[in-house]
Amino acid sequence: MFKKFKTIAVAGAVAGLLGIALSGCSTAEKAISEADCGTENAFCIGVVTDLGKVDDKSFNQAAWEGAQAGAEATSGFAKYVETTDSKDYAKNIALFGDKGYNVIVTVGFLMAEATVAAAAQYPDTKFIGVDQFNGATTTNVTGLIFDEDRAGFLAGYLAGNLTKSDKIGGVLGMKEVPPVRKFGEGYEAGIAYAAKELGKTIKSSVIYHAAGDTAFSDPAWGASTASQLLGQGFDIIFGAGGTTGNGAITKTAQTAGTFCIGVDIDQWNTVPEAQPCLVTSAEKKLVKGVTDLIIAANDGTIAAGNFVGEVGLADYHDLSSSVPQEVQDKVTAITAQIVSGELATGVKP
């Protein structure tokens, strides 16, 4: 009996050690080290990812790139921690808060509540909530928000001008997350606008992942759902929702004569599998937004409340030749109208 216990203990210990050893945590070290954080001579930036990794090819990655760029610009020090369980949000923020970090970037709508709570706990730290609308009165939280409906509208407008089958689909994450809903509804509004302009009927179908826990990390569901749309004659697929969306655009790339549209950041380099169909991405200029806010925090010019970052369509890259010049011109014109606010998307905020 004792021997059996020993075996279990050893096996458990080995697994535990492996787990610890393998849970990587990298730093972009400059001359300053983490030990200097909380002192006068160091500007420290901590990034807490949402469920998902810092190289998720989407906004965790963009936020981290923004933090690194911010650290570069301010000669600061940046470090990240990856969240593996939503129960750990507060704990992970505290990892940086307790060490006196100057700026903590929390990524994702789901972390909004934890961010506001932590801000009260660490009044000297500036919090940047990526994708978090900040409705609280806390003076040290700045929400970096985007008009996703505008980016989605542009994607939909382009799709409406490119479709040959007059059927356009979308495979998205969870609808309860406002940015996802705004992307989806903006996309449909853009398609409708293009249809009206062209004087034809275009069918648009946006499918949301229903399960909460895997909504943004289920590429197999994304791929199958994209197949279902493609099989019914849809020829353009917008994939928005972490690796779920990536699965959808990767699948679309395997069918000739189709286009797909990425999301959040320019996915041309981050999802190379999708290149055969990836005409553009509905982009939130996240890297720039995070970098600007970090610099503002360093200057002391950062304002509490919300900061609206830029949106737009990413480059057409190699598919530029598949998009007629006339369509490109129309998209450019509409982009200007949308960004200036002259043309409203009609999507509820």
Partner: protein, 329 residues
Amino acid sequence: MNSLVKRRGFYYALAVAIPTFYLYLQSSNVTTSVFSIAVTFAMPLALAAMVGIMCERTGIVNIGIEGTLLLTSFVAFYAAIATKSILIGFCIAMATGVAMSLLLALMSVTWKMDQIIAGTILNILATGLTSFFYIQGNMLPNMFKQKPIPGLSNIPFFGDVLFKHGVLMYLGFVVILTLYFALFHTSWGLRSRAVGEHPSAADTAGVSVSKLRYINVAVAGAIGGLCGSYLVLELVGSWNRGFTAGKGFTALALMIFGRWNPLGALAAAMFFGLSQAGANQLMIDGTVNIPPQFVGILPYVMVIIVLAISAGKVRPPAAEGQPYEKGQG
């Protein structure tokens, strides 16, 4: 009992066939598409459930299916990239599955460890290894493409639903049918089930309990490798962390739902896949404006209802989870 099961199965089949035929008459394209996609949703779950059935039928609880899928899909992806051959990737993934299974067998048969802990170790190991060694930005050289089976794929409805997939999908069907036949109609199957129900009796009859458990768990690992390969080399075409998104755990529920019977688990997985594809179709058509959350919980609610109705009639193999000590029991 057997005739009861058969009659029940007949009614279930009828309950699916009649509405399907009606829908097919209404809109043949959409109905065919929904069923065809349902099969792609169902196959990975069904194969994962086969891994569980293979293990549990011989008395080994395997909650490490998720880990097996995760690691084998990972290995399939990177081995295919490294060797520039998806076939080699597939073979190495199968070998990895077997290796993981042997580890499970070593812990639970030889070391007589708690099998839940042994399975958990597989899951932790797979998550740790794949997260650590994951490098983004790699692409597969090619994929297992859709290969319609000549002749069979021309059958209306069934041809599109069953015979217009890739090689691994067909292999999956072959594995499931073979497993069903082997488990209930061969002496190997009888021995395996005996070892799972009453190992000391099987031992007395001259069946080596440990050896059979090792073999069956190893075969289960190979099936896990097939499942992981299907996901990455045929269905999606890319890999990322947490790629399998809990399919190994869903499969455990489907295994119970299917009463530890390969065909039952296949039917359960098909039911699950059909709910998913049907839910998607409702959103595609947009004719019924049901909140996606509601549509999304549908499969789970139905599983609960079915499990509640069949409660008491579902019984796991009797010796499941117990290490076998010679001379005891």
